[in-house]
Amino acid sequence: MHPVRKQRLLLVIFGVIFSSIAIGLIVYAMRANINLFYPPSKIAAGEAPKNRTIRGGGCVKPGSVVRAKDSLDISFILTDGTADVPVVFSGILPDLFAEGEAAVVNGMINDKGIFRAEQVLAKHDENYTPPEVAEGMKNGVNDQAVCKELSYGS
């Protein structure tokens, strides 16, 4: 083969190998580290995988936040108007976490169906609701102040 062509061929082969390795690595890393989002109704229906890190989100049910007396354990209920999911968390909640407001939680569901959160995210400003929470709502209200309009039942 002509040396110039040979060089080009080598270059192409190198490029193909290099980019396949890169893509393979990216896919691998993505698989291990992406978190799927589930609204409370799907979690309650058992559609969410257990013991695998996922992301959940909804409105914090008023009156459901309970703090332990002697530790930093806390529990609350996330709801989307259709179903409730109990969440437990140990640590300090973000400042803007409040009852009747939207929150997103990262963590795992254990065998009892309790969401053990490793991280709790609350909104950054007055009218903001995370888009996935707003979209997962019962009556499809896709509004930024969705938690304020939700009727929490009893």
Binding site: A29, L72, I92, L93, N106, E126, E132
Partner: protein, 667 residues
Amino acid sequence: MVPEIGQFALILALCLCIALTLMPLLGAYYGNKLLMHSGRSLAVGAFVFVSIAFFCLAYAFAHDDFSVKYVASNSNSLLPYYYKICAVWGGHEGSLLLWILMLSGWTLAVAVFSRSLPLDMQARVLGVLGFIAVGFLLFIIITSNPFDRLLPLAPQDGKDLNPLLQDPGFVIHPPFLYMGYVGFSVCFAFAIAALMAGRLDSAWARWSRPWATLAWGFLSIGIALGSWWAYYELGWGGWWFWDPVENASFMPWIVGTALLHSLAVTEKRSLFKSWTILLAIFTFSLSLLGTFLVRSGILTSVHAFANDPERGVFVLIFLLVIVGGSLTLFAFRAPVVKGSVGFNWLSREIFLLGNNVILTVVLITVLLGTLYPLIADALNWGKISVGPPYFNFFFLPLMGLLCLLMAFGPASNWKKTSAKQLVNMLWKPWVSSAVFALAFPWFYHDEYSIPAAIAVFIGSWIFTGLIADIAYRLRHSESVMAGVKKLSLSYYAMAIAHLGIAVTLIGVSLTSIYTIERDLRMQEHQTVDLNGYEFTLQSLKKVQGPNYTADEAYITVNYRGKPLNDMHPQKRRYKATGTSMTEVALDVGLFRDIYVAMGEPVSEDAWAMRVHVKPFVRWIWLGALMMAFGAFLSVTDKRYRKQKAIITESIEQPAPAMLKGKVLVND
């Protein structure tokens, strides 16, 4: 009345920018000098009117004009005056106005400082900048007018500035970040102008280099300020979350860094020309993408704010026009330029190419991680988020590799370097860094940490490599002092910036490895121990601020029996919004920070507290400051000034200037 003047000024600025786009570009196309000369005065005019608009908005804030909707939703009569002024960029509309102010400021700077450029080049650059300004002015006037009124029913008082933003960090972080973001528009304009003119030479690289460096310096400071602010303001002691909004600011920085190095090759060796142009286009496109991501509200982020999706669509269309247009132009024009000089496989060109390749790969992984949730959502693959482990998986090894290679760059020669020379020069730094790095974790902490050893090795390798390089450069000079004076300012600038990378790297690694953090329940008079640091909650009290009330804790800290600072963290409750905020107490040190934040009350006399001891955390931002300082220093290098002086002289006396030009080429 004042807001209407602002509104009117914005519209006038839009008209001027339309003229600024059309007249110089047409002038350059037809070779009409009058039209080309108009660019400079139009740029001044646009700047004046945008400033008027900006000051009108600031005036409305300062005078509590709550009939202006934007003021009513971002200010309050109780707000201290300095936050009232800064509240101008507290929301979407105002921060966009700040963007435009910066853009017209950079345009003005180009008009003032590039008189030495050929007239047609000047005209094209200003025309492209004018076009970008038109896009953003249309955006602000059509979709997000900051001067909209709430009439006839103006509210009595404003809704207050978001408490998170009532902080000194907010005063300086957005301006610096935007200076950087927008600064890359100048490089972009230079690249487009060069493509239009079909003139891609090393002169072009020399013109755009100081602009790129300057923008990069500002962006470095902006990102560092953001990280520092998040560190103490969000109250969980993190300084980087791989959050989409952070990535949005980080991506232009990554490509910008690649651009700086590629520009160096293009200037000195006339190589990588098309690639440099492409990088300039991508850097600015990523700045626009960042604006789009942050402003469209399609992301879930710790930094997300309420948004209007329509605005996102506008930025997206503008982004497509800019990226699509410039890439099309690139496709038509770039293949004409081809590198003519060769280089050896072991040369500075190769190391700088390596820098570019690695940074590009880093960029692609960050970009994928940031956009993948959006793509997946658009294709109905479910709602997902990409977590920090993904980013760290790629970022850490790639950046480690980049930093390892960093010491070779300055030490190698253009065109060709002998391996022997490199080995002779660098074996000592290599060995001494290895010894130091192996010993460091041993002495620093009870538990030996291999990652810490690697990080310290890379950091000190960069440092000692630079020293060896300086020693090598000085080998022929009579005395050290004489030699030190002989090295150029831009060499020192490079050394400081590289050192800054080393400092940040050490800060990031050691903080991540050695941080101790606890969430604790603390009772009055109770003492908790954190690796020798004893925290005692002495008392709790209530405090009144100008627009908030707060719970304040008084905590004393002892280290191995010796008393350190007293700490006063607060939990504030802002009256107007009813939101609460954590005010962190910090004991700052070069080698460690102590960080105490109040969580929430657990009982009458007990609070949940977050207590951290963070070693080397200051180094992260110190390094960024060094990088920026290096960038600003390199811009003052006489190389750029001399060039200008010669060209202005050459207009008056052509003959001697030619001579000087020759001398310059020779050195």
